[in-house]
């Protein structure tokens, strides 16, 4: 029995080079057991490459990958305790749903009787009851994906890899499948590693997220921490929206820093990480207070005067785009909490923005 607290996946200084290009660049990462882990990053940042190295479809150029404590070097995909849901689903077109799901058991010599019951169980688990005899061309995209999921889960892997599983589905179905994937993960208790470029998807599903950029991992954190405590400006801007202010660090004091910003004046703010000694101040749009009357600062609050440029109305919230007095562009979101609230202000209206220093964060560039 292995140590339950030990991570299920350990990636140690893994690099994958295609010629000069380093698709994955010195990545180290430990994924805890039973996690719903997301690899998040813009297109081309190396997410798929990293996932395919876990599946055994690409070799590492340097570094080690351990799965459940075992070095995976030289182990072929068919010998790894890992299964993958491909981006194209890769459901076998000439086999029925049941045959697709049974395939992985048949080729590894599982007994016929055991196969039947396990396939039935898997079909029920992904809610494809009554479709066992259908061919893939008689299924919708969402149903084909369920087949791909069942086919992988029926093997009871230690790790399930999913490459952009929701990108081919329309919005409604995507939201439904997000909930479904989380339900499945809790139900089967297998570690899921999902690759996505969609930050909402990652925030909504994952227990932990690794943000990648150009082959490197910038930050690994649970969704809330990632949003409220991004350590790098790239992370802050990739996940959700943010306003940033250039600043000069005057003094460092433990967790905090004394900074001076041309727009906000002198403030004490939190540093996002111990190694951040310079950088940019950021604040999330919903944490900016907007006021149209004469400014009346609450204690400690910094005030900015600005003019409204544009308003985007989304129903649940409106995003107001402004230009501050020094010409920098800011945004501020307002929830439309009441049906009979005053309408959004018009472009050109002057307003005051209130910013609490505790909502600001000093992030590294």
């Amino acid at each position: 029995m292995r140590d339950v607290a030990a991570p299920i996946v350990e990636i140690q200084n893994v690099t994958k080079a295609y010629g000069k290009l380093k698709a994955v660049d010195d990545v180290s990462l430990a994924i805890p057991r039973n996690a719903f882990f997301a690899l998040l990053g813009p297109s081309g940042c190396g997410k798929t490459t990293l996932l395919r190295m876990l599946g055994g479809f690409e070799h590492t150029s340097t570094g080690r990958i351990l799965i459940d404590g075992e070095d995976m070097a030289g182990i072929q995909p068919n010998r790894r305790p890992v299964n993958m849901v491909f981006q194209s689903y890769a459901v076998f077109p000439h086999m029925t749903v049941a045959d697709n799901i049974a395939y992985g058991l048949k080729v590894t010599g599982v007994k016929r009787a055991a196969i039947a019951s396990r396939v039935e169980e898997a079909i029920a688990m992904v809610r494809l009851d009554g479709m066992a005899a259908r061919k893939p061309d008689q299924l919708s995209g969402g149903q084909r994906q369920r087949v791909a999921l069942a086919r992988a889960l029926v093997k009871r892997p230690k790790l399930l890899l999913l490459d952009e599983p929701l990108s081919a589905l329309d919005k409604k179905l995507r939201e439904e499948m997000q909930l479904e994937l989380v339900r499945l993960q809790t139900e089967v208790g297998i570690t899921f590693i999902i690759v996505t470029h969609d930050q909402e998807e990652a925030l909504g599903m994952a227990s932990e997220i690794a943000v990648m950029k150009e082959g490197r991992i910038l930050q690994i954190a649970p969704p809330r921490e990632l949003y409220e405590h991004p350590t790098r400006r790239f992370v802050a801007e990739f996940i959700g929206a943010s306003n940033s202010f250039p600043c000069e660090v005057l003094a460092i004091d433990g967790q905090n820093a004394r900074v001076r910003s041309p727009l906000l004046g002198e403030l004490t703010v939190e540093r996002s990480a111990p190694d951040v000694t310079s950088g940019t101040l950021i604040i999330r749009p919903e944490k900016v207070r907007m006021d149209f009357s004469t400014p009346e600062p609450t204690p400690g609050e910094a005030l900015i005067r600005g003019t409204i440029d544009q308003i985007a109305y989304f129903g649940d919230l409106s995003i107001v785009y402004l230009t501050a007095e020094d010409g920098s562009r800011l945004q501020c979101s307002r929830y439309n909490v009441s049906r009979i609230a005053a309408p959004d202000p018009r472009p050109g209206t002057a307003c005051t923005l209130g910013i609490h220093p505790e909502d600001l964060l000093l992030v590294g560039d």
Binding site: N83, F86, H94, Y103, V107, A148, A152
Partner: protein, 279 residues
Amino acid sequence: MLGRSPVGPLEYTRRLWLRLWLLAVFVFLYAPIVILVVFSFNDSRRNIVWQGFTTDYYVRAAENASLIEAFGNSLIIAFVSTILSTIIGALLALGLWRFRFPGRAALDGAAALPIVIPEICMGVALLVFFNRVGFPTGMPWPLNLAPIVIGHVAFSFPFVAVVVRARMIGFDRSLEEASKDLGASEWQTFWNVTVPYMKPGLIAGGLLAMTLSLDDFVITFFTSGPGTLTFPVQVYSMVRFGATPEVNAASTVLIVVTVLLTVIAVRWQRPDKEVAKLG
């Protein structure tokens, strides 16, 4: 003519001269074949004017020992060369489709050569080849068919390769990866995933190879040893002594067999629904 759109340039059903042209094309294409078939039922030895209906010449053809022997030879040659050229052609197609290696483009071109080389050149080349290498002649039946089989394989496997390659273009490589991911070995993956996908191409290519082999005259003529006859060669020698309805009857049988095989080949070649939809 209210409510009718102007006639499009290629709307042949609505232009008289195009319709006549079309008719002429069909007449030129099919009249000889129709006449051949009709006159196989002609009750006349000289077979120049219609004398009345009979199936006698089919019976006569069936009783013609050398014709039957030639037919048997043709079937054996077609069978063996189809299997060989299907295997070689499919392997060639897979190799070219899957791997990148130095000389790939050259091999690709060279493999298509037998399709474009005039048959007569190929026949002469094979004749010279068999002479040069001192291929044993006068072997007992059925070994005497070997040079013909080799010749047929040489010119028909590229056709199989072309058909199979066309089929593999639509193949999603992640199907193979998924198979391996699910625990299958390379070999299991090949048989369970790749071959089923290739199957329509294999069957279409195989049937193509078979029709090519069945009715080949030129290459067979050059590669067959003395006294080894195939059906087309035998028909040719019968025609030289006068085109009796027996020749027509024999030819009709060959036409029917070839057409049937071609129809089946075309049907298999048609992308089946499930694959087409998945893309």
